[in-house]
C-alpha cells in the first residue's frame, strides 16, 4: 500500500482571508491538499477585518472550494468544519491574543500574509511583539506574498524587519511561478538528461526568449497597478526567476541553498547594459484600446483607478546579457505585458544555425531549432526540428516534438499554490526566494526605474490584443531573430 506523505499537525493563519487571492487560489489549494491526504490534523484560521460570523465565513469557504472536483459532500463538510474566522484589524493587539488561543493544541504554525503589501509591516511587527514568531512545541513559518517591496530600499527594509522577528529558515517568500510543474521540470530537463547541458551555452545557443504574456487588462486592480507597473509586477520577480533557472550552473546538490546560491549568481552576473544605455535595451509601453478575444476593450489610460496621464508601463521588454563564461554574448530577451493577444508564459531557447546550409531554398537558412518550455497554459515542452518532407525532393519543414504534461501524465499536475503550500509545511524552501535573490534583482531593476523616473511624456502605445509595441521589435532585430508568437 502507498503511504501518503502528509504534513505534521498544524494551524494555518491566513491574514487577509476575505481577499481575492484566498478565494481564487489559497482555499482551493488547501482543500486539494486535504483531499489528497496531505493534511492530517489541521486548522485554518482566517484573519480579516470584516464583521463576518463563523457561519457566513464557512459558507464563503464552501463557495471558494466549489470548483474543486472529485470531493464528496462529507469531505467538503469536514474541511469546512476545520476553518475558523478571526475578526480583527491587523492593528488591534487583541487580534493577536485571539490568534494565540486559536493556535493552542497545534505544535506547528504557518502564517500566510495575503494582505495588501502596505499591511505586511504591521502584521510582521505585531507577530514579533506578541512573541508569536517562535514556538517551543514545533515550527513557526511565515509565507510572504508578492510584491516583496517596490524598490531596493523597501525590499531591504522588509527583509530586515522579517529577520528581526524570524530566522531566514522560517521565512518563505512566495513566487508562485516556481511552483509550476514545468519550471521545476526545467531543472530536471537540464540536469537529469545528458543531451541538453552540453549545448546549453554560447557555442550553441543563439538567444533565449522569456515571455510572460497576459490577455487580461488591469481589471479592478487599476489602483494597485498604477503603483506597480509591468517591471515591478512581473519582471523583478517571476521573469527573473525563470531567467535564473534557465541560465544557472548545476548546483552541488539539490538542497535549497545550493540551488538558490546558483540562482542568485545569475542575477548578480547581469551585465548592467540597461544601466549604461537604458533606452537601447529596455522598452516600455501601455496598451491602448483594441480587441481581445473578439471583443473591444478599453485602453489602459481609461481603466478604472488609472490616472489619464499615467506613466505606468503595462508592457516591458529587456535585452540582457550575462557576464559569465557560459553565456557571454548571448542575448536573453524578456518581455511581459497585459492585454497581449493571448495568455502565455514560456521560455524558449533558440539554437544557432548549423555551420553549413545545405537544405532549403538558396539564401534562406532553415528555421532554428527551438526548445520551448511552456509554463502556462498547457504546461509542456516542445522541440522544433527541421525534417524532410517524405518524397523525392529535399523539401524541409519544421516539425515539433511535443510533450504535454496533461496528456502524458494525466490530470494530476498540482496547482502551483498547492505544491508551494505543501513545501512550506514540509520545511522545503527550495521553491521560495531567498533575501539575497530578491535584493539582487531589485538592485538591477532599481536602476531602470531610476532612469524612467527622469523621463517625461506619454509612453509608446500598443493596441490591446496585439503582440506588443513596435519598439520591442528592435530588441531582437539582428539577422533572422524574431520574437516568438505570443
Amino acid at each position: 500500500m502507498d503511504t501518503v506523505d502528509a504534513a505534521e499537525p498544524l494551524v494555518i493563519f491566513i491574514f487577509g482571508v476575505t481577499g481575492d487571492l484566498t478565494r481564487k487560489k489559497l482555499m482551493p489549494a488547501l482543500f486539494s491538499l486535504y483531499l489528497n491526504e496531505r493534511l492530517s490534523e489541521f486548522r485554518i484560521v482566517g484573519f480579516a477585518r470584516r464583521e463576518w460570523s463563523q457561519e457566513h465565513f464557512r459558507d464563503q469557504v464552501r463557495e471558494m472550494i466549489a470548483n474543486v472536483g472529485g470531493a464528496s459532500e462529507e469531505q467538503r463538510n469536514r474541511f469546512v468544519q476545520s476553518v475558523v474566522y478571526l475578526q480583527s484589524t491587523f492593528e488591534d493587539p487583541a487580534g493577536y491574543e485571539k490568534l494565540r488561543e486559536h493556535a493552542a493544541g497545534f505544535p506547528n504554525r504557518i502564517y500566510y500574509l495575503s494582505t495588501p503589501p502596505g499591511a505586511y509591516e504591521e502584521v510582521i511587527r505585531s507577530l514579533g511583539e506578541h512573541g508569536l514568531a517562535r514556538s517551543d512545541t514545533g515550527y513557526v513559518r511565515i509565507i510572504v506574498e508578492k510584491p516583496f517591496g517596490r524598490d531596493l530600499a523597501s525590499a531591504q527594509s522588509l527583509n530586515s524587519l522579517l529577520q528581526s522577528c524570524f530566522d531566514e529558515s522560517q521565512i518563505y517568500r512566495i513566487d508562485h511561478y516556481l511552483g509550476k510543474e514545468t519550471v521545476q521540470n526545467l531543472m530536471m530537463l537540464r540536469f537529469g538528461n545528458g543531451i541538453f547541458e552540453p549545448v546549453w551555452n554560447n557555442r550553441y545557443v543563439d538567444h533565449v526568449q522569456i515571455t510572460v504574456a497576459e490577455n487580461a487588462g488591469v481589471g479592478t486592480r487599476g489602483n494597485y497597478y498604477e503603483r506597480a507597473g509591468a517591471l515591478r509586477d512581473m519582471i523583478q520577480n517571476h521573469t527573473f526567476q525563470l531567467l535564473a533557472i534557465t541560465a544557472m550552473e548545476p548546483p552541488n546538490d539539490t538542497s535549497p541553498d545550493s540551488i538558490r546560491d546558483e540562482k542568485v549568481k545569475i542575477i548578480r552576473s547581469l551585465d548592467p547594459v540597461t544601466h549604461r544605455e537604458p533606452d537601447r535595451h529596455v522598452v516600455r509601453a501601455q496598451y491602448s484600446a483594441g480587441v481581445v478575444d473578439g471583443s473591444e476593450v478599453a485602453g489602459y489610460l481609461t481603466e478604472d483607478g488609472v490616472d489619464p496621464e499615467s506613466q505606468t508601463e503595462t508592457y516591458a521588454a529587456l535585452r540582457l546579457y550575462l557576464d559569465s563564461w557560459r553565456w557571454a554574448g548571448v542575448p536573453f530577451v524578456l518581455r511581459t505585458g497585459k492585454r497581449l493577444s493571448r495568455k502565455a508564459t514560456e521560455i524558449s531557447v533558440h539554437f544557432k544555425h548549423p555551420p553549413l546550409h545545405f537544405f532549403g531554398p538558396a539564401g534562406s537558412p532553415l528555421q532554428r531549432n527551438v526548445l520551448s518550455i511552456r509554463i502556462q497554459p498547457q504546461e509542456g515542452i516542445t522541440l522544433n526540428v527541421n525534417a524532410k518532407i517524405p518524397g523525392y525532393a529535399t523539401a524541409v519543414r519544421p516539425v515539433s516534438m511535443d510533450f504535454a504534461y496533461g496528456s502524458a501524465f494525466g490530470p494530476a499536475v498540482p496547482e502551483a499554490y498547492e505544491r508551494l503550500l505543501f513545501d512550506a509545511m514540509k520545511g522545503d524552501n527550495t521553491l521560495y526566494t531567498r533575501n539575497d535573490e530578491i535584493e539582487a534583482s531589485w538592485s538591477f531593476i532599481n536602476r531602470i526605474l531610476d532612469h524612467w523616473s527622469t523621463q517625461d511624456g506619454p509612453l509608446p502605445q500598443y493596441a490591446a490584443g496585439s503582440a506588443g509595441p513596435d519598439e520591442a521589435r528592435g530588441l531582437l532585430a539582428d539577422g533572422d531573430r524574431r520574437w516568438r508568437r505570443v
Binding site: G290, R342, R374, N384, A463, S466
Partner: protein, 332 residues
C-alpha cells in the same frame, strides 16, 4: 463577437469526430487568409488543391463584409473538411471563417491570434489590397513565419501600381519579414527560360551586352518585378524609368501589359544590334530565337496557384530571389 477559444477548439474536435472515425493527422501549419470576399479569391482554388495533401488550420478573415454590410457585427463560423489518405488516415482542414463586421473586431489580431495552433508555423495568405490595409497587415506580419502576397491581385483589387512594390519593399527589406509573392512566383517559368537562353557558354558573355529588354505580357507589378529580377542578376542600377549596366551603359526596359495569366514575349536587344526573342505560351511550349538563326522549343510548365501554395507551405524560408530583386530599388 466573443471568441471563446476552448469552445471553438471543442467544436472543431466535434466536427472532426463526426466527419471521420480514422486517425486524424496533426495540423502542420496555420494558414490565415485575408481577403475581401470569401468566394472570389484565388485562395479557394489554391486551398482546394492542398486539401487532402496537408493537414492545416485555416483561418479565413473576410475583410470586405465591413463595406458591404456596414451594420453587421463580426461573426465566427467553424467547419472542417477531411480526406482519407492512402494510409487510411484523415487529413483535415480545420476551418474558421471570421467575417469582419463594421465593428472591425474580426480583423484585429486579438480575434484570430488566440485561435492559432501554437508551435507550428503560421503563414498569412494576403489576398487583399496591401496599401490601404497597412495596420492589419502590420499586425498580421508580426504573427507570421511567412507572408504570402500576390501583388498582381492586390493591384487588381485597387492598389496603386506605382506604390505596391514600395510597400512590399518595406516589408521584405526594411522589416525583414519572409515574403513570397505569387506574382513573382508565376514569373519563374519565364525567368528560367530567359536564363537558359544564355546557358550556352558562347552566349553567356552576351549578358553583359544587353541594350534593351521588351516584355509583352504579364501585369504591371509582374513586369516591374521581372525587370528588377534581371537587374539584380545582372548587376544593373536604376536610372529613372530604365537601368544602367555594370559599365554604366544605359539599358532600356519596356513593358506592354497583357491581362494576368496570358502568354509572354521577351525581346532582348544586344549592343551588337542583334536580338534574342523568347515567346512562351501558358499551354506549355516556348520558342527561343537566337541571333545566329538558331532556335529551340523547350517544353515549359507553368505552376498553378495550388502548386505554388503547396511549395510555400512546405518551405517556410524566405524567397531570396524576390528579396534581392526588391533590393534593386535601393540601387540608383
Amino acid at each position: 463577437m466573443i471568441v471563446d477559444v476552448p469552445a471553438v477548439e471543442q467544436e472543431l474536435a466535434r466536427i472532426q469526430r463526426e466527419l471521420t472515425n480514422s486517425e486524424v493527422r496533426t495540423s502542420l501549419f496555420n494558414l490565415v487568409v485575408f481577403s475581401p470576399d470569401a468566394e472570389k479569391t484565388m485562395a479557394n482554388e489554391a486551398l482546394n488543391y492542398l486539401l487532402g495533401k496537408r493537414a492545416a488550420r485555416v483561418i479565413h478573415i473576410v475583410n470586405g463584409a465591413a463595406h458591404e454590410n456596414p451594420t453587421e457585427e463580426s461573426r465566427l463560423d467553424v467547419s472542417a473538411r477531411c480526406f482519407i489518405d492512402t494510409e487510411r488516415k484523415s487529413v483535415c482542414f480545420q476551418e474558421i471563417v471570421i467575417t469582419n463586421g463594421s465593428d472591425g473586431a474580426g480583423g484585429a489580431p486579438g480575434s484570430w491570434v488566440p485561435l492559432l495552433v501554437r508551435d507550428i508555423p503560421t503563414l498569412i495568405l494576403w489576398q487583399d489590397t496591401l496599401c490601404d490595409n497597412q495596420d492589419l497587415l502590420a499586425h498580421a506580419q508580426e504573427q507570421a513565419e511567412k507572408l504570402l502576397v500576390d501583388t498582381e491581385q492586390s493591384v487588381a483589387l485597387g492598389d496603386p501600381e506605382d506604390a505596391i512594390l514600395e510597400v512590399v519593399h518595406r516589408i521584405v527589406v526594411t522589416d525583414r519579414i519572409p515574403v513570397s509573392d505569387f506574382a513573382f512566383k508565376r514569373l519563374r517559368t519565364l525567368q528560367r527560360l530567359v536564363a537558359s537562353a544564355f546557358d550556352d557558354p558562347k552566349r553567356t558573355p552576351l549578358l553583359d551586352e544587353i541594350s534593351s529588354v521588351d516584355l509583352a505580357g504579364t501585369s504591371s507589378p509582374a513586369g516591374r518585378l521581372f525587370s528588377l529580377w534581371l537587374a539584380d542578376r545582372l548587376g544593373w542600377t536604376i536610372d529613372g524609368a530604365h537601368f544602367r549596366d555594370r559599365r554604366n551603359r544605359p539599358v532600356a526596359f519596356n513593358h506592354t501589359q497583357v491581362a494576368v495569366g496570358c502568354s509572354a514575349e521577351v525581346h532582348i536587344d544586344l549592343m551588337t544590334s542583334e536580338r534574342i526573342h523568347i515567346a512562351m505560351q501558358t499551354a506549355g511550349c516556348a520558342d527561343v530565337d537566337y541571333p545566329e538563326g538558331e532556335e529551340s522549343h523547350p517544353v515549359v510548365s507553368v505552376p498553378g496557384n495550388g502548386e505554388l501554395l503547396l511549395e510555400e507551405v512546405d518551405a517556410i524560408g524566405s524567397d531570396a530571389l524576390y528579396r534581392n530583386a526588391l533590393r534593386v530599388l535601393d540601387r540608383y
